[in-house]
């Protein structure tokens, strides 16, 4: 709370957040897409929450519903064909799904901002980056063009773009990939939001640049005490920055855990398989463990546990009963805080 407040146009909303409740809470969210081939169930009952200053990593493969959940939170889902038949998205206790569009627009960008994966296609190629950054101030705070431009330069300096003053009039194609991603971060930070959703922010970048960008993001998050939802498929990035992790598979959360716990003792066969299937940098392994089969088709999610056709531990019960996200406990029964696993055989997986 001791951070430098530079905007000053409005009192910062973070000060109210003294009760310690979660910033954002997603409850039993369902998203489906109505297509010509049938209904694709992209998200099937997702629950998670993020508090101020906390980093939640949502881990999953393509098609697991991690990005769709984020889009539903931001309210940028294409509807139709998308549909949210069920669920709540509570931001500071208020359900954003039942809110008037007017009110929701006030939250979007100002309170919750998003960083997209592909900065080149997320930025408008025919407008200068300064103009695009300034748009946030013009629209939300009614600043003049001149003031907005000054703010844009300030932002570019804050994300450490060299020679910001000279480059403010440049167009997106004149920047390198890493610099473009910094501009995306600057844009998300513009109004000092309470929560940032970063959807694969470094996937398109080289490792050396990825390290720069992740460092910057972590530093800014600390400075502003923001909540961060990091959506990624990279287990390495997650280990580096996350506080807690939610692993998604076929539109459900199959495991939640604090970061140290998950890597040490996974409680779901899917998580375990993922961890075993990545090669290591620090030693040369033997043959890689490979999860057999393919991720399921969302039009035809297998009955019971969606992972059962690929699971080495699958039994009859797995094809008939959907496992709920159950609390995970030690062998002697003491509950492990923050841990949950949606597997009928989590005991065997974690302790066996």
């Amino acid at each position: 709370m001791t951070t430098i407040e530079k905007t000053g146009a409005e009192p910062s909303a973070r000060v109210e957040d003294a009760d310690g409740g979660p910033l954002l809470e997603v409850r039993d969210l369902h998203v489906e897409f109505h297509t010509r081939d049938g209904v694709a169930k992209a998200v099937n009952g997702v629950n998670y929450s993020v508090s101020a200053g906390e980093t939640l990593a949502v881990l999953g493969e393509s098609g697991s519903g991690k990005s769709v959940t984020a889009q539903a939170i931001m309210g940028i889902l294409d509807m139709p064909p998308g549909k949210i038949p069920q669920g709540e998205i509570l931001f500071r206790g208020e359900d954003m799904l039942t809110m008037a569009p007017e009110e929701r627009r006030k939250i979007r960008g100002r309170r919750i901002a998003m960083i997209f994966q592909d900065a080149l296609s997320a930025l408008n190629p025919v407008l200068s980056v300064g103009y695009q950054l300034g748009e946030m101030f013009r629209v939300h705070q009614g600043l003049s063009k001149k003031d907005a431009k000054a703010k844009a330069i300030e932002l570019m300096e804050r994300v450490r773009i060299p020679a910001a003053k000279e480059r403010v009039g440049d167009y997106p194609h004149q920047f390198s990939g890493g610099m473009r991603q910094r501009i995306m971060i600057a844009m998300a930070l513009a109004l000092e939001p309470d929560l940032i959703i970063a959807d694969e922010p470094t996937t398109a970048l080289d490792v050396t640049v990825q390290a720069q960008v992740m460092d910057l993001l972590a530093e800014l998050q600390r400075e502003y005490n923001m909540g961060l939802i990091l959506i990624t498929h990279d287990l390495g990035v997650v280990a580096d920055v996350a506080d807690k992790i939610a692993v998604m598979y076929a539109g459900r959360i199959v495991e939640t855990a604090p970061v140290h716990e998950l890597y040490k003792r996974p409680a779901h066969p899917y998580t375990k398989g993922l961890l075993d299937s990545i090669p290591r940098l620090d030693h040369k392994g033997q043959e890689l463990y490979a999860i057999k089969g393919l991720p399921p088709n969302l039009l035809k999610i297998p009955t019971g546990c969606a992972f059962n056709p690929r699971c080495p531990k699958a039994q009859d019960i797995c094809t008939t009963e959907v496992p709920a996200l159950a609390a995970v406990a030690e062998q002697d029964g003491t509950e492990l805080p923050g841990r949950g696993s949606a597997c009928h055989f989590w005991k065997e997986t974690i302790h066996g």
Partner: protein, 390 residues
Amino acid sequence: MAETEKDDKAVDVTKATEAAAAPHGITEVTTVDAATEDEAVAALDAEVGSGEPILQVRNLVKHFPLTQGILFKKQVGAVKAVDGISFDLYQGETLGIVGESGCGKSTVAKLLMTLESATAGEVFYKGQDITKLSGRALRAVRRNIQMVFQDPYTSLNPRMTVGDIIGEPYEIHPEAAPKGDRRRKVQELLDVVGLNPEYLNRYPHQFSGGQRQRIGIARGLALNPEIIICDEPVSALDVSVQAQVINLMEKLQDEFNLSYIFIAHDLSIVRHISDRVGVMYLGKMAEIGTDAEIYDHPTHPYTQALLSAVPVPDPEAREGRERIILTGDVPSPANPPSGCRFRTRCWKAEDKCAKEVPLLAIPERFAGTDSLAAHESACHFAEEKDVVHA
């Protein structure tokens, strides 16, 4: 266009014989002088013993001309995508090539495939310089060197069935399979890469990313090649599918006695699959050695920075590990820095680095020692530093 080509030829390069004099790793090239095309083709079909060099690259250069003007194009500069690299590929091994985007690793792949013509330098395949071959001899080379591409979504023609895609190499090289036998061969290939042989008449869009990459691999295997060049073969795939494809590639290598050149930016995967690894930076080879030499005993600052930037999937390691965060981006290959190309981002750079181009050789201080640090590194101030282990 013709004019620029003449210019390209004018670039001065050291001869292969001089490169052969370089120490360690780079072996001498025994060239084959084939007087007729028949002799050349026969020499290309000869067997190479395991552990012998099968492909020898010497001072390979590729400059893409930058032109100005519409009617009278004049060359105003060149993008130095590949600027003099030399390495050997041994029979049956996997050579990994890593580097950031824009360092020229994909251009190397295209040059080895003779999809691009080299500005200068030689690529010896079984003693013959393939950059100078043409006609039947070049076709024979292309049969033996195949490629697997990065993006399984765009490297397969959406209007062709899987059977036609995998069987297409036989149209160009009819000697590889008689016409009546092709269908059976294609089915065999599908089986080898782990796909149902009955999928012959399906189209690429009916397959997932991992399955498409298997189709790409089957196409690469169709002509029984000796070398497969893989350009980022798994970077478009999901983690769980990546492991399947990597395991398949390792299995096929044993089964068909293949040599791989494995180009990727994911350093963990490269370590897993490679016997030797080369690190490229801005068109030059910065460091090359066995996987343990490069990963456990890197001596080039760029390799150290690259390795330290890789996030390790172990949260325990995040406090203990030293991170070298490079500043800035890769300079433009059209106007690379003088001397050592890495000096603009290097924390060790001194005046010497701006003046003298460091040669790729075993650093003097390690020469003659048993240490794993004694491998080729192009740095004036090569120094061992373990950045991978916490």
